[in-house]
Symmetry: C2
Subunit: 108 residues, 2 copies
Amino acid sequence: MLEKTTRMNYLFDFYQALLTQKQRNYMEMYYLEDYSLGEISEEAEVSRQAVYDNIKRTESMLETYEEKLHLYEKFQQRLTLINELEAVIANKEEKLFFDKLNQLKELD
Amino acid sequence: MLEKTTRMNYLFDFYQALLTQKQRNYMEMYYLEDYSLGEISEEAEVSRQAVYDNIKRTESMLETYEEKLHLYEKFQQRLTLINELEAVIANKEEKLFFDKLNQLKELD
């Protein structure tokens, strides 16, 4: 469930601009502010079932957008590449440093 | 016109997964394969006006997606940052190189 919540938070982050205001409200209350379905239904003055159906439909829409645009997947790939790049740069400097150090030693 | 074509090609690239097959076909023929509206209407056996309306509607959808998701804008920002990063790394290595060179000189 925690894993699904994390995923939904990310998908919501990437695709919320494509949702209606009502969908955004329910998703924010349910996933970001941790309201229960019952609490949302009271707040919105609709049935618990209506809230549930709307959230399920929205989740499915977010997954469909992700299947088509892969924004979350690309974000994760980009993050991995950035971390690898950081490591490569760190290592390269280290290598340069040790190259120079070895050359200095060889001169002695 | 060339600028608009370039922009439409990029927007099409980023958002084509959100279009219908017919929209994709018309956009590909018009923007990628340089068919005229008349040639597309012959090929698709619909009126020239129908093709024109469909393409205009699709262009407007692509712009709306861009207003909401900014994928092309972010792509350009990312490209700028990557180029800056490349320059920074190149300079940093050069600096390291000359630091070492100066130290070597100071030892003589």
